[in-house]
Amino acid sequence: MREVDRLTVRTLEPDPRSAALLDSARLLGFDDLAAIDVADVYFVAGALDDRARGQLTDVLVDPLLQLGSWGDPTADGVASDEGTVIEAALLPGVTDSVAATVIEVAGTLGLPVAEAATGRRYVVRTATGRALTEAERERLATRLLSNAVIERVALGTIEPAFAHASTPAPIEHVEVRGLDDAALAALNRERGMALDPAELRVIADWFEQAGRAPTDVELETLAQTWSEHCAHKTFRARVVLPDGSERPSLLARLRDATDRIDAPFVRSAFVGNAGIVSFWPGTTIAVKAETHNHPSAIEPFGGANTGVGGVIRDVMGAAHHPIATTDVLCFGPSDLAHELLPPGVIHPQLVREGVVAGVADYGNKIGLPTVAGAVLYDPGYTANPLVFCGCIGVGPDVAPPTGPYPGDLVVVLGGRTGRDGLRGATFSSATMDATTGDVAGASVQIGDPITEKLLIDLLRDAGGCWSAITDCGAGGLSSAIGEMAEQTGADVDLALAPLKYPGLSPWEIWLSEAQERMVIAVPPASLDELARHARRHGVELTVLGTFTGDGVLRVRHGEVLVLELATDFLHDGRPQRSMPAELPSPRRNGAVPACPDPSAALLALLAHPNIASKEAIIRRYDHEIRGTTVVRPLVGAGNDAPADGVVLAEPSGKVGIAIGHGVNPWYGVADPERMAHAVVDEALRNVVAVGADPAQVAIMDNFSWGDPRRPSTFGELVVTVDAICESSIAHGAPFVSGKDSLNNEYLGSDGERHSVPPTLVITAVAHVPDADLVVTPDLKAAGDELVLIGATSAEFGGSHLGAVLGGFDDPRDGTVPGPDARAPERYRRLHQAILTGRIRACHDLSEGGLAVALAEMAIGGRLGVDVHSLPTDDEVVSLFSESTGRFAVELAPGDHEWLAGALGEPVLVLGTVTAEPVVRIGSCSVSLDAAMAAFGAEGATWQPADATGGAR
């Protein structure tokens, strides 16, 4: 056995992690803890003398900030170790980039360090000095201080574990010929393949014909390629209506809408890794949004982290250079009592902490601004949080690569392959249960944003060296090479793949979802040039084989042929599903909630987690890097009021890109069809409000739904898709990319299925013709007039007023806001009005209606409003209804007639902006201070260096 040294490093001042852990411990029911001290632990294997230890100490410990001690951590006498000691360390094989860096440093210093590992040490003390019970220690260790998916934990000091070589399992032949349906179903369960009976039958027949049994590699490859996650079986299924009639698939419907709009700016829709548009000459823009829900449920940091990394690679896989990321996050309530937490589920607040840290870590480190987004809370997300990650990239407007061609080399770039993320595609296509976290450990990957950053730089510099490119996402090399070889076939040797550690079986190498890898097809003549670029950027490059041209995918491991499948069977052999749909029948009865105290209701709305400030999350993301962010997610005098959309513009240019989101699962629960119209409209409003041109908007659809094999759930999807297609056509805003994540359900140990609320995220990406003329919602000057655009009616189904007042007695009461036929024309005219520079502030009306919108505008301007004219006779409807198609705008006094003329429809003058800091709307009156406190605005107004203040 090797000699292993241990260095424990503490901070001199209180470690900020300690306070955060204490807060979280309270959520788990620990009310009497006095401290949870944290220290970092480094393990190094090698024969180190005192001098070598001293050299390492100089590197690992900053004497002004930290204190390090070698050996037994209880012997240093510096920090009192009276308390319960819990230590955690990564499982062997989990990516540990810090440990890798320690080995690198030791190499630089010439120290004999063969292996390294890292860990954390916690010392938990109670206020009374009482010892923790065994059950308490266990709960703290497993629920707060470590995650069993990626870490080991020990009570007391932990022994390091290093990833050691194991013997690769030989390939296995699995007999499927002659099996009946029951036997195939048993095999399906046993191997976790998540395939349908009809698909299993097709596979068995194919091998019957081939006259041989499949290898484990072949079965895994088919399960991955035919998974819901990769094949989108539901969206490609024939739709069977209750009367027995059939109609084309949901995907065909979406494609048809885009074809009918036939927008000149669409370059590529629904093919490849991302949608591609061009809003101005010389540049194309790639857009993509993805979900990473299941991984984020069991390991929030790693799941969200690799979700961001994955969607950035999608844009790289569309041969574009990433410029920004977005995130829409759905969590359970942060204050959920721990007794109510289902077994095996991580507390929503810890999920949020982990997810936000994961998004921030990847985006900040890779150097992309994390700009637009949303955060939603609902009990329906407790066991199944949703993480939607988006990315936007730009590229020169040149012909896209058209390969691969026979003879091109199969080249893998970037990170090494390990056991990370095995079977992620099939895992994400199955329902989770209480043991999912235990069995799915290998499905979670850990991100390494720096390696991906180097890939971005390499691909930017080495354009032209390849004929085709795709990323390694779900399904790893199997998916990437399998898809690229669809037209040609390929012959690859897995023994050539660079591994993180030896001992992987062929199927593990082929299916591993190790992050930060791209596969490219390289003409042999370009290999040297590519290799030069790769060396310069420090990116590992490996040739795995060639694209052949015979239409057969062959995978070897050294001398052994482990897979031989015709590409047409792999990609087109799957039988199309037929899926029955039961269409929902919402009530739509126009009920209005009783609201005796509008002032209290406004404050309650502003304080509702879905409306209140998201500043604590937004500030953890770098939204400034690249210097392109013109409208930020937080705006106004105190930089703390919500913006509608965000705008990015290169500092050297005039034009920009606006990004906006629409999402409303509460409408989805009540009326999926109207929800669909409403969220498309919201996404459009958000980009139009900041100055984007509604004639040049591309949209993306991301669905997170429950199990579509339930006809009622599939029916929700059917009406949703129909409605977004209608809205897309009405607005002339084509879909260019989309993704569905189904089976977002959780089988609790109570035997109940927990499904997420129907959640559709629409992302709008739009052209901003003049980035100097952007508009924000914050009020600019007292005395200005406030004007309402659009029509208001009693639409309270799924409303937030309903939520804060406790809802209707019958949850199906009320009407979800419907589409406004005049909206597309209104948005085009409003855009022209914005281009004159006469609109001083503009805010879209959404959750909480007019009252919330005006309060947010007032908070943004640190001004008041005095509103005496209301759009309807019913004050509750006027203040809080969530009718679509509406904006509140601020104009110079007297400009409303100009605006009405510009819009070609009447507008309502609501009242004026006041210096008096009061939000007064009809009988509703709250002070600005109260509104800010409820909303969670920080309070301090920022005085810039050279404030000229007020209006332009």
């Binding site: 901070t11 690198e104 950027h537 209006a951």
Partner: protein
């Protein structure tokens, strides 16, 4: 007059190198990016440069502490040449991760610990130039620019001595991260080397200011780069 040559140094994970190049070009320099790998092949760009920027980012993912690995490789491979660069009076600036790197390389005093908030923070701040020996901040006005860091709390055991030596170059108007004595940027005893946590390179045109829509003008971070480029041209 020819444009002074500026070199922007990059390590794996540096990510504000292009932002720095944009600012330098706007300030009148001829700016290029080189990684330590590039310089290991050919150190001519370093020898030819008249101004050196160690750019922001997450070099080596902040493993073992922000700037640690960048500083080690810089010191290990180019320590002598960087010291000669400074001795020749050519201006050097380390921004954010570059500041952390220069501190850990021993070219600037003090240390940078985790923010008092415990986490990464991205927000706009106002910087006030101080009476100091720093060549980068002479005669400039206040600067508005963003911070974007998790380890930016400046720590120094003897601020009075640092102040007396004229090495406190920039202070925050409102301290965002718990830095001792509101210090945002410090220089070496000669004033040639400046390190600061905020990002003046992200406020070089008016539109980048968050209050541009509210009529704010001025406070450009460009001033800092203009001063550095002027100095580089004069050496």
């Amino acid at each position: 007059m020819s444009r002074p040559r500026a070199l922007v140094l990059q390590a794996p994970g540096t990510n504000r190198d292009h932002d720095a190049v944009f600012a330098l070009e706007l300030a009148g320099a001829d700016a290029h990016i080189a990684s330590l790998l590039d310089l290991a092949d050919d150190d001519t760009p370093l020898l030819d440069a008249q101004l050196l920027v160690v750019a922001g980012g997450f070099s080596h993912a902040d493993a073992l502490g922000a700037g640690r690995m960048f500083a080690l490789s810089l010191e290990h491979r180019f320590g002598d040449r960087v010291r000669a660069f400074v001795a020749a009076g050519k201006p050097v600036i380390g921004i954010c991760n570059g500041f952390q790197t220069l501190v850990r390389a021993g070219l600037l005093p003090g240390a940078l610990g985790h923010n008092a908030s415990g986490g990464f923070q991205c927000e706009w701040v106002t910087l006030e130039p101080q009476q100091s020996v720093c060549v980068w901040t002479q005669g400039i006005g206040s600067i508005d620019c963003p911070i974007a860091h998790g380890e930016g709390r400046y720590v120094h055991p003897d601020v009075a001595a640092l102040e007396a030596a004229g090495q406190v170059a920039l202070r925050y108007r409102r301290n965002p991260n718990g830095s001792t004595s509101d210090i945002a940027g410090v220089c070496d005893p000669t004033g040639i080397v400046l390190g600061l946590m905020p990002h003046p390179e992200n406020h070089v045109i008016a539109r980048q200011h968050p209050h541009h829509v509210r009529g704010a003008a001025g406070g450009l971070g460009l001033q800092l780069f203009q001063r550095g480029v002027e100095r580089a041209g004069a050496v």
